[in-house]
Symmetry: C2
Subunit: 441 residues, 2 copies
Amino acid sequence: MKNYDAIVIGGGPAGTAAAYGLKEQGKAVAIIESDLWGGTCPNRGCDPKKILMSAVEAKSKVKKLNGKGLESDPTIHWEELMAFKHSYTDTVPEGTKKGLIDTEIDTFEGQAEFADSHTIKVSDEELKAKQFLIATGQRPSVLPIDGQEYLQSSTDFLDLAHLPKRIAFLGAGYISFELAAIANAAGAETHIIHHNSQPLKGFDEELALELVKHLEEQGIVFHFNVGVKTLEALDPGYRLSADGFELETDMVLGATGRTPNIESLKLENAGVEYTKRGIVVDDHLRTNQAHIFACGDVLDKTQPKLTPVSGFEANYAVQAMVGIKEAIEYPLIPTIVFGDLKLARIGMSEKELAEHPEKYHSETTDLSSWFTFMRINEQEAKIKIVYDEADTIVALSCLSSLADELINYFYFVFEKKVSHQELSDYIFAYPTPASDLEYFI
Amino acid sequence: MKNYDAIVIGGGPAGTAAAYGLKEQGKAVAIIESDLWGGTCPNRGCDPKKILMSAVEAKSKVKKLNGKGLESDPTIHWEELMAFKHSYTDTVPEGTKKGLIDTEIDTFEGQAEFADSHTIKVSDEELKAKQFLIATGQRPSVLPIDGQEYLQSSTDFLDLAHLPKRIAFLGAGYISFELAAIANAAGAETHIIHHNSQPLKGFDEELALELVKHLEEQGIVFHFNVGVKTLEALDPGYRLSADGFELETDMVLGATGRTPNIESLKLENAGVEYTKRGIVVDDHLRTNQAHIFACGDVLDKTQPKLTPVSGFEANYAVQAMVGIKEAIEYPLIPTIVFGDLKLARIGMSEKELAEHPEKYHSETTDLSSWFTFMRINEQEAKIKIVYDEADTIVALSCLSSLADELINYFYFVFEKKVSHQELSDYIFAYPTPASDLEYFI
C-alpha cells in the first residue's frame, strides 16, 4: 500500500494545477485519472472548440468584407479541420501525463473509489493519503427522453470524423450556440431546439436575442418553447418529436446541462457530503471531511463552471490544504459565448441584476459606426452597460467579433479601478479597440 | 478684426481636441485649417490605412488556415476597397467642421500667417487672440534626388484610384512597411528600397528582421544599402537608379521621413523659435513666446509623432494655457507597425537601450506552439522581453497578428504595475490571448 501526503482525484486543469502546486509545497503527491489526462478543456472542451472556431472566425471576417474590397467565399473542409484539431488534441493526454511524471508526481489510471476516508482504490491498488482533493469535473447530462440512447454530446461533436448534413442541438446554452455556429459555418443544416423562450441564460437577454437574430441570418434555425419528448432512429437519421413538432436530422446533440462526476467515487465510504449539483464545500473548498477538499466543476457552487475558475480554485485549494486561513475570494469572472459574433459579459450576474431590477438602469449602444467596427464592416456590434442608482457601472455586456478582446480590457479597467481620466490619458496602440475604451465608459 | 481668447492653428486631431478643450474652459476660440478638416490621421493616415488593412488581415487569416480546414484564396479588389475607404474618409472634413461649428468654435479656412505675435492673417481676415496653439502637424518629406518631382507619397497611395502593377517604396520605416504590405497583398509587385541595412529604426532589430523575412516570403522585395540617386520618367513608368542598381516600376513612393508644417506660418513675425525638426517648446508645451503654445507632430521632440500622443499633448496644452503648473509627463507610448503580421513594442526606447547595452539582457520566445497562435496557425509569432540588471522588465516587443492586442494588455500591466501573482489570479475570457499573459512575463 502506497502512502501520500496528498492524492488528487482528476487529471484535468484543476487537478493537475493542484498536483503541481502541492508538489511545489514539498508534498508527496499522487494523481488519478479515469479517462483522458488533461481532462475536458484541452481534450474535448475549450481548446478543440476554439481550434474549429478559428476557421469560422476567419471565414466570417472575409465574408463581411465581400463587396468591400475582398472577394471570396471560403469553404470549411471538415476532415482537414478535424486533422488540424487532432494535431493539437492527440498530444494532450501523453503530454499531460509526462509533465506530471517528470515532476515526480505519481500517476494512476482508473476509476478512483474511496474505500474509507483515508483510502482510495484505483485499479487493483490501494492508496492512502493524509489529504485528498477531488477535481473530477463534469460530463454532459443525458436528457431523459424516449430514445435518449441516440443522443450525442459535445464530446462526440468535437471528434466527428465527418460532418453530418443535418444536426439538431437540444438546449440553447453557450455550448449549443458555439457548436451550432461551427456546424452551420461548415455547411450543416443546423437547428437549435430549446424548451423555453430564453436562450443563453446567464447572459443579457437583449443581446442574446440579437445573437439569435444574427445566427438565424447565418442559417441556423431556432425552435423555442419546444420540449422534445422522443427521439426515434430512422434509416438513416433520427426523428425528434414534441407536441406539434417534428424534425428529421442526422445527429442530435444534447447540450442540456452537465452532471458532476461523483457517482463512481463512493463518497459515502469517506462520508463526503454532496448534492446532485456536486460536492459541497465551505469557503475554504473543504468538504465536511476536514482532510478532503474539492475544486473545479465538480463543486456545488454558484460561480460559473469554467476552466480558469477551476484553475483559480486549484491554486487556492493548495494554499488551503497547507493551512491558509483566509476564505476564498473570487476575482471578477467574465463569461463568453464564442462564435463569429461573440457575446461576452463581466460584472454583477444577470441573476443578481434580476433580483432588484428597480436598482439598475442600462444603456445599449450600437457600435457599428465606430471606426473599429466600421473598418471590418461589423453591423452587429453592440455594447450594453448596466448602472446602479449612483450611476456606477455594475455590469457590461458586449456583442462583437471583438467581444473577447474588449471584455479582457474591461477586466483590467474594473479590477484595477482605472478611472475615465486615466483611460483617456493612456496611449494605446492606435487605432485599435483599446484606443476606444475611454469612449465606452 | 475679430478677437479671441485663443486661436488654434491646425484642424487635425491635436488642434480640434485642443479647440474643444479650450471651449469647455469657457474661452472664445477660433481654429484655422489650410487643407482638410480632421488632418492627416482620419483623412490620409491611420484611419484609411487601417481600412485598407482590414482586407489584408482577413486575407492573411484565411490563407494561414489553407490546408488546416479553410479552403480559399481571397482576392483584394482595389477599386471596391477604395470605395469602402471613401465611405469613411469622404465624410471626415465636413463632419469635423460641423462638430466645431456646432460647439460654437469659429472655423477659418486658409493658410494662417502670423502678422505679429498677437495677430494672424488667414485669407483676407485678421484675427487677434490672447493665446495661440500651433498644431499644424507634418507632411511627407520629399527626398532631394534627381527626378524628385516624380515621387509620390503616402497621401497619394491612400487615394489611388487604381493599383499600379509595380510599386517601389523609398525608405524602410513603418509607413513603407504598412503600405507595402497592403500593395503586395493587393497584387502589386512591391519593392522596398532603403539607404542602409537597418529597417524600422526604433523597433527591435531582431524582430524587425523577422518581419522583413516574413514580408519577403509574402513577395515583397527588399533592397538594403541602396542610396537612390535618380528617378527618370519612362513611358510608361519610372526608372530608379543608384550605384550598381536599377529598377523599373510604375509608382515611386517616398516615405523617407516627414517635415513639420512651419514654413508658411511666418513664425518670424511672432518671434517663435523653431528648428528644421519643428517648433521648440518647454515642458509646458510653451514656445519662447509665453502666450504661444504648440503640440502634436509639429513639435521638435523626442516622443513618437503619433495621433494619440498629439491628443495627449492637446489635452495637456489646454491645461497649460489656462495655467496648470505641473510639467507635461508622458505616459507609456507603445509603437506598432501594422500588417498581416504586426510588430509592436512598449517600454524603454531602442535608443535608450542602445546607450547602455551592458545593462540589459533579453529573451526571445517563439510563440508558434502556444495555443493562441497554434490555433490560427501563426508560425511567426514571437515575443522579446528586455530586462535590466535587476531582472525587471524594461521593454517588450511582440511580432504577431495579435501584437496590437497583446501590447495593449501589457499597457495595463505596466501602467498599473500588475504583478505576476495578480495576473495569474485574473480570470480572463478563456482561452484568449489575455489568458496567456501570466505565462509571458
